[in-house]
């Protein structure tokens, strides 16, 4: 962190907020799933927990920008995009692998496809040279 209290204006702030909301939502869901009956769908529940951690990391990086945070955010969003595309496709083609829903099932249709749109929008924003400069400033 280059500045302990610095936050960015613009879409970075909105992305931080939306990722924060999803971190809490996916985290509460995975906590419920894991504590209620983990053996029912261990892969799906583990993925829900992983999604929550990625959302939390992305939210923090957008909220507290720095050069390092930019790199972490890009990595988190790439993992998220690969996750939502892979799990989304597998949940349709091989539904037996996912006896219960994850936030990424059917490309996030249960959350209005926001899990699919978020990493694309986030990466598009992060890849702007001006955004990278703002993070590093």
């Amino acid at each position: 962190m280059s500045d302990g209290g610095r936050t960015l204006d613009g879409p970075s702030r909105l992305l931080a907020v939306v990722y924060g909301v999803f971190a809490i939502s996916a985290g509460a869901r995975s906590l419920f799933q894991i504590t209620s009956d983990f053996s029912l769908a261990p892969l799906a529940y583990t993925l829900s927990a992983l999604a929550a951690l990625i959302y939390l990391l992305a939210s923090y990086c957008f909220w507290r920008p720095s050069g390092r945070a930019w790199g972490l955010a890009v990595a988190a969003l790439i993992i998220e995009l690969v996750g939502v595309l892979t799990v989304g496709a597998l949940s349709i083609a091989r539904g037996d692998l996912f006896p219960d829903q994850t936030v990424w099932s059917q490309f996030g249709i249960g959350y209005g496809l926001i899990p699919l749109v978020l990493p694309i929008a986030g990466l598009a924003w992060l890849m702007r040279p001006a955004t990278r400069q703002e993070f590093a400033a």
Binding site: D9, V17, V21, I24, A28, R29
Partner: protein, 117 residues
């Protein structure tokens, strides 16, 4: 939780979200009336969550306590975080849309809490 009160809180949050989106579309930062309503929503959420937690402590059983707790935590924390108290001068139109986005999420959270109750 009392359904009529929870639904009225959800409606206030939906109204706040619409207001935030409108301010963003007009290119305006949160104004004083908007912030007053937002802090009223915070107080409503605190009172509702406090009453729910007292009910749980008194023996009420929710459908899923971990999930209910997650929503309760979100309803207490999210709005004060995005309202950024004490930073009026630094607020921009992006604060308006951020508050609006959180208000939508909290309206859903309140209704989910009610369904779990």
């Amino acid at each position: 939780m009392i359904p009529a009160i929870s639904i009225s809180i959800a409606l206030v949050l939906v109204g706040l979200a619409a207001w935030g989106i409108a301010l963003f579309a007009l290119g305006r930062a949160p104004n004083r009336p908007f912030l007053v309503v937002a802090w009223i929503a915070v107080m409503e959420l605190v009172l509702q969550t406090g009453a729910a937690l007292i009910g749980i402590a008194a023996g009420h059983e929710t459908e899923s306590l971990p999930q209910f707790t997650g929503y309760a935590l979100a309803s207490l924390v999210l709005l004060p975080v995005v309202l950024r108290p004490g930073q009026q001068a630094a607020r921009t139109r992006w604060d308006s849309i951020s508050i609006g986005a959180v208000a939508i999420a909290l309206a859903i959270a309140v209704l989910r809490m009610l369904s779990l109750w």
